[in-house]
Amino acid sequence: MTRFPPFHIHCHAGNAPSRAGWQSGHAAACKAVYAGSIPTPASNTQGSCKNARLPQASWADHQQVNHRDRLKGIFLIAIALAFGLGAMNYSIGKVERAGPGFFPLMVSSILFVLGVAMVVRAQFTKRVPAEFNVKNIAIIMGSLAAFALLSAYVNMILGIVALVFISAFAGKAYSVRRNLTIAAVLVGIAFAFQQGLGLQLPLY
C-alpha cells in the first residue's frame, strides 16, 4: 500500500493550492474526512490569488510571525508543554511499574519533539499565513454559550431560540422571519425527541 498515491511530505492542504490540485492524492486524502476543505472552484481561485505573491517568498518572510507551518508547531509545543508539565504532578513510577504520570509524560515528549520538528521544517517552506476569521467563530461560540446558559437558568426552548438568532449573524443574510421559522421547527424537533425517543430535555 505504500505505492499508491504520490504523497509528499510538504503537502498540506493549501500550502500549495496550485501545485497540489484536487486530483493529486494528497489533497483528496485530506478531504477524506473533512467536508470543509472541499476543492470548490471558488476556494481554488482564492488560493491562486494568494499564490500569486508567493514566488517572492524569501528569508525576510520567515521573520514574520504569521507563518502557518511555524504556528502549528508552536501550538503543538504549547499543548505538549501543558500536558507534559501536568504529568510532573503525578507519580512517574519506574519503567516496569509505571505510575499515572509516566505515559502522558512520554506522549507529550514525543509531541514536543514533533512540534519542534515542525518549527524547524517551517524554515524551509514558503510562508503561508494562517487566516483566522475571528468573527464567525466568535458568533458560533457565543450562540453555544447562550444556549448553555439559558438552558441552565431559564429553559431549553429559550436556549434554542437564542442559538438560532445569535448564530444566524454568521450567515449571509439576516432575516428575523426565517429565524423564527427555523427556531419553531427546531423546537418541534426537540419536542419530538423528548416524547418519541425519551431524551431528557429540560424544554420548559
Binding site: M1, F4, F7, H8, I9, C11, H12, G25, A29, C30, K31, A32, V33, Y34, A35, G36, I38, T40, A42, R68, L71, K72, F75, I79, F83, G86, S91, E96, P100, F102, F103, P104, S108, L114, G115, M118, R121, F124, A130, E131, N136, I137, I140, M141, L144, F147, A148, S151, G159, L163, S167, A168, G171, K172, N179, V185, L186, F193, G198, L199
Partner: protein, 508 residues
C-alpha cells in the same frame, strides 16, 4: 459451506422487521448526509450516537454502519452531479462530473449505483470469510504486539489522511493526550481534570467528535463564502446493453482492490478509490477514454469505495483495532453498547457480528433503490440554503451532546473542542488522526504499561517479539523514507529557487 451457514444465521437476525427498519433509516440518513454540505460521516455518526442509547444493540450498530456506507454513496452522487464531494468521492468528480457535462448524468449515476452494489457484495463475502480467520490470528497478539500495532496504525493513518507523517502523528499524540483526561484506571489518580468533577469520567467521545467535526466544520464553511448551485439537469437512467456490459469488469476489479485496501491499516475508501482508478487507467479496454467521462472511470472507483467502506470493519471486528477515524468512532459505539470489539467478539456475540454483516447486504439493496430510481428526489435536498442548515446542525450538536449525560457541562466541553478544532483546521492540521488517537489512547496506555510490566521494564520486548518487531521495523522504514523524501524535496526546492533567483537577476 460454513460461510453460507453463518450468513444464513446472520440474515435470520438482520431480517427482523425492526432491524430492516434501522438499516433503512441508516442508509437513508447516510445518503442525505453524503449529499448535504457540512456534515461528514464522522459528525453524523457522533450526532446519532446519543440517539441510539435507547435502541437495542444490534439495531443501533446496523444503523450506524448504514450511515457510514450510505454516506459514501450519497457523496458520490453529489460528486457526479455537481462536482462537490463532501466526504471522500474525490475520484468520482473526475469521470463522473465529466459524464454530467456530456449530458450522461443518468448513466453515471446508474453506473455508480450498480458498481457500488457489486463492490458491496464482494466485500461482504470477503468480510464473512476473512474476519473469523483474522480473529484467530489476533489471539496470538500480546500486549507488546497490540502496542506496536496501534502505533503502526497511527503511522499509516497519519501518512494516508494528511499526507504528512509529522502532522498526522502529532495529531494522534494530541488525541492520546486528550484521552488521558479523567481517572487513571490503574491508580485511581485524577489526571488533568483541573478540579472539575464532570471531567472525572474523561471527555466524552461525542463531545470531541462533534466539536472537531461538527462545530469547527460549520465555522469553516461559513468562512469560505462559496455558493453552491443545485443540479438542474435532466436524468435519464437506463443504460443500453453495451454500456451495461462495460460496467461489470471494471466494477469487479474495483471490488477486489477496494476489499483488499479496506483491510490495510490506514486504508479505507479514499485510498481504495485512487488505486482502483489508477488500475483502470492502466488495464481497462477503454483506458484512452478514462478522464473524459468513461463508464470505467466511474465504475471501478465506486465499487472500490463501497467495498473498502465495508471491509474496513474487518480489523475492528476481528483484531479490535480500528484502522481509521470513522472506524474508531464505530469502536466507540460498540464500547458504549457494552461490547468490546476484538477476537472474542465473533464467538461471544455471533448474532451481532453476522447480523451486521448480513445487514450490510440488505443496506446494499436499499442504497441501490435510493440511488438509482429515487435519485432525482434526493437531489432536491440541495435547494436548502446553508443559512437554514447550519443553525439546525448546531442545534443537533447541542442536543446530541446534552443527551449523553443530561449535562450542560458537556455542551461547554463540546464548544471548547469546537474552538480547538477550528484552530487546528486553520493551521491546516487534520483532526481525523486526533479522533483515532483519542479512542485508542487508553487502550494504548493499558497495553504499553502491561507490556513493560511483563518484560520487567525492558523496552526490547517491542523488538524481540516477532509480530511487534516486524511492525516496529516497518514503522522505522516509513519514518526513514519520509525523512529522505523530505530532504530530497528540499534540495530540489532550493535548486529551483536558486534558478528562479538567477533568472530574475538576468532579467533585472
Amino acid at each position: 459451506m460454513e460461510i453460507l451457514h453463518n450468513l444464513a444465521f446472520g440474515f435470520e437476525h438482520a431480517l427482523t422487521m425492526q432491524n430492516i427498519m434501522f438499516c433503512a433509516i441508516g442508509c437513508m440518513v447516510g445518503t442525505l448526509v453524503g449529499l448535504l454540505p457540512g456534515l461528514g460521516p464522522l459528525a453524523t455518526i457522533s450526532l446519532l450516537l446519543p440517539l441510539t442509547f435507547s435502541i437495542p444493540t444490534t439495531g443501533a450498530l446496523i444503523m450506524l454502519a448504514g450511515i457510514y456506507y450510505g454516506a459514501q454513496y450519497g457523496d458520490s452522487v453529489s460528486a457526479i452531479t455537481m462536482k462537490i464531494p463532501h466526504a471522500s468521492s474525490i475520484v468520482a468528480c473526475i469521470d463522473g462530473y465529466q459524464m454530467t457535462l456530456n449530458g450522461k448524468t443518468g448513466l453515471a449515476l446508474f453506473t455508480a449505483g450498480v458498481s457500488s452494489f457489486i463492490g458491496g457484495t464482494v466485500a461482504i463475502v470477503v468480510l464473512a470469510a476473512l474476519a473469523p480467520a483474522l480473529g484467530e490470528v489476533a489471539l496470538l497478539f500480546g500486549p507488546a504486539d497490540y502496542t506496536a500495532l496501534m502505533l503502526f496504525g497511527f503511522v499509516c493513518v497519519s501518512f494516508v489522511t494528511t499526507g504528512s507523517l509529522i502532522d498526522g502523528l502529532a495529531m494522534c499524540m494530541v488525541g492520546v493526550l486528550l484521552g488521558q483526561i479523567g481517572t487513571d484506571v490503574n491508580s485511581g489518580v485524577q489526571r488533568y481534570t483541573i478540579g472539575l468533577p464532570f471531567l472525572y469520567d474523561g471527555v466524552s467521545l461525542v463531545s470531541v467528535a462533534l466539536g472537531c467535526f461538527g462545530i469547527a466544520e460549520i465555522t469553516k464553511n461559513l468562512d469560505s463564502h462559496t455558493e453552491r448551485s443545485p443540479f438542474m439537469g435532466k436524468i435519464h437512467l437506463m443504460p443500453t446493453w453495451p454500456e451495461f456490459k462495460r460496467i461489470i469488469p471494471s466494477a469487479l476489479r474495483g471490488s477486489l482492490v477496494g476489499s483488499f485496501l479496506g483491510i490495510m491499516p490506514g486504508g479505507g475508501p479514499v485510498i481504495a478509490q485512487f488505486a482502483a482508478y489508477a488500475i483502470d487507467k492502466k488495464v481497462s479496454k477503454y483506458r484512452h477514454e478514462i478522464g473524459h467521462g468513461a463508464i470505467e472511470g466511474v465504475a471501478g472507483q465506486a465499487a472500490a469505495d463501497e467495498a473498502a467502506a465495508r471491509t474496513s470493519f474487518i480489523p475492528l471486528m476481528s483484531i479490535g483495532i480500528p484502522e481509521n477515524a470513522v472506524m474508531a468512532l464505530m469502536m466507540g459505539a460498540f464500547i458504549i453498547k457494552g461490547i468490546q470489539p476484538g477476537p472474542n467478539m465473533i464467538s461471544q456475540h455471533p448474532d451481532l457480528f453476522w447480523g451486521l454483516v448480513a445487514s450490510m447486504w440488505i443496506g446494499n439493496c436499499f442504497l441501490l433503490f435510493l440511488n438509482v430510481p429515487m435519485v432525482r428526489y434526493l437531489l432536491s435536498i440541495f435547494k436548502i440554503p446553508y443559512n437554514v442548515l447550519f443553525p439546525a446542525i448546531l442545534f443537533f450538536c447541542c442536543i446530541g451532546t446534552y443527551s449523553v449525560n443530561g449535562s450542560l457541562n458537556d455542551v461547554a466541553v463540546t464548544a471548547s473542542f469546537g474552538l480547538m478544532g477550528y484552530i487546528f483546521l486553520r493551521l491546516s492540521l487534520d483532526p481525523a488522526p486526533l479522533m483515532l488517537g483519542f479512542i485508542l489512547g487508553p487502550m494504548l496506555e493499558e497495553n504499553f504499561r502491561r507490556a513493560l510490566l511483563l518484560s520487567r521494564g525492558s523496552f526490547t520486548t517491542f523488538v524481540t517479539r516477532p509480530i511487534a518487531g516486524t511492525l516496529v521495523a516497518l514503522m522505522a522504514l516509513f519514518v526513514l523514507w519520509q525523512f529522505v523524501a523530505f530532504v530530497r524535496e528540499m534540495r530540489a526546492g532550493s535548486l529551483a529557487r536558486a534558478d528562479e533567483g538567477k533568472a530574475a537577476l538576468e532579467e533585472g
